[in-house]
Amino acid sequence: MNTNVMTETAGDIVAENKPVTADTIAEQNADAYETVGNAFCDQAKMSMRNVNVFYDEKQAIYDVNLDIGTNEVVAMIGPSGCGKSTFLRCLNRMNDTIDICRVEGQFYLEDQDINDKKMDVVPLRARVGMVFQKPNPFPKSIYDNVAYGPRIHGLADRRSDLDEIVENSLQKAGLWAEVKDRLHQPGTGLSGGQQQRLCIARTIAVSPEVILMDEPCSALDPIATAKIEELIDELSQNYTIAIVTHSMQQAARVSHRTAYFHLGKLIEVNETEKVFTNPDHELTEAYITGRFG
């Protein structure tokens, strides 16, 4: 049924059907809606089941089911306010800091339900790290920025261990060569792209299993963006990555699977190649071809 609709929408030379709008489709799907594509995978690092998120009475996310595979890069795309960032922030319970936010559903990190209120968020966030939209280094030295996580979690007993962690993390973030001579200068003195890589280094310094990235390149220029994307590619060897992005090209470039959110619903999850050449759902199609958004 979907493909038929899509044929009509695509064939606008001869198509004479009445205009299909994003709203009408969303309405049609409001009652009975099911994520199309392939939301599950075999080696899931994180499995989210029946996720509903509310801000006060307003529902922001409707019944989302999604798996994120081990060492997989999953990109989440969708128009503004579609709930993709909210969903991402549920994965390490950053929404806890928002009073009016209520999260329902199961979030399994391996076998552990992380949405359990009894679960301590401190070890959770050590396992699921996060990189934010705006580069946000602490107003401390480069060294202290990277060392902060290991310090609060007590990962290094000796100074030399800490030095090693800092160096390794900066190496992995591709920043070591640029900053090794000025480790004790403020991290805020770096360029935007370097700051973001510093933030990534800071995140991987605690050796998380999953890294969440919330539009990590939206404040960066194309060269810095390219470096971050290259970094994401390298990191995916060892880490599981979920990335929210506004740039569809970025999703296409870095991710293995792409999830499309629309008005709080997970519309489609598929292999990235498929989403960008032949998406299953007409809303995905419309969004990625730039017909709304």
């Binding site: 493909t3 899509m6 044929t7 929408t9 695509a10 064939g11 606008d12 030379i13 001869v14 198509a15 205009p19 299909v20 709008t21 994003a22 709203d23 489709i25 569809m248 090209q249 296409a252 008005l263 989403v275 960008f276 050449t277 032949n278 998406p279 007409e282 809303l283 995905t284 199609e285 419309a286 990625i288 071809t289 730039g290 017909r291 709304f292 958004g293």
Partner: protein, 238 residues
Amino acid sequence: MDKLNIDRHISQQYNSALDDLKKEFLEMGGVVEKQIIDAVQSVAEADVDTAQKVLTTEQDVDAREMAIDDLCTQIIARRQPTASDLRLVMSVSKSTRDLERIGDEASKIAKMAIAISESDDVPHGFSELRNLGRQVHDVVDMTLTAFARYDVDLAVEVVSKDKVIDREYDTAMRELITYMMEDPRNISRSMNVIWALRALERIGDHASNISEQIIYLVKGLDVRHQSADEMVQQLNQE
């Protein structure tokens, strides 16, 4: 959220660029179609003028091919098309090449028409040529219609019709070979006809290729190098 029309791109320019691409492709298709008609006619009626016209048109077709290629490159460079847009650009880009080849084949037929007209007697096999020519023209016409309408069924029909054309070609060939064996003096004349038939058969193949691209364009399925049955089966699975 305001009412958004997902029929159209937000960018009007992008919209019109894609529309232009489709229009240019269909126009080129029209020109090539006319070439086929003219070429077959020039052979059938030994009309040198028409044949010459086919040959001149060939330059126009070449120019159109380059223009469409350029347009495709422009769209890729500027818009980074995705999904259906990407498939449109890719399939047009590939199909244009096929269209151009069809033009080439038509020119071959036209050249042959000129060669035949220089000898007086009517060679054997003209009826087959005309018959095959009509069918090939039908197939090309169907292909262009399928493209214009994004009609997968029609495209599938083109592919299966191409098989019919292939069989007809085989029959005609066998007949001509028999004819040549009967009287070896006919060989050089018959060879010309064979070349023309061969060209027509090639045109059918190109039309079939374009149809496969149309299926890719509409369905996102790569159905090349398959039998028609397999293709239908795969389409039904979707």
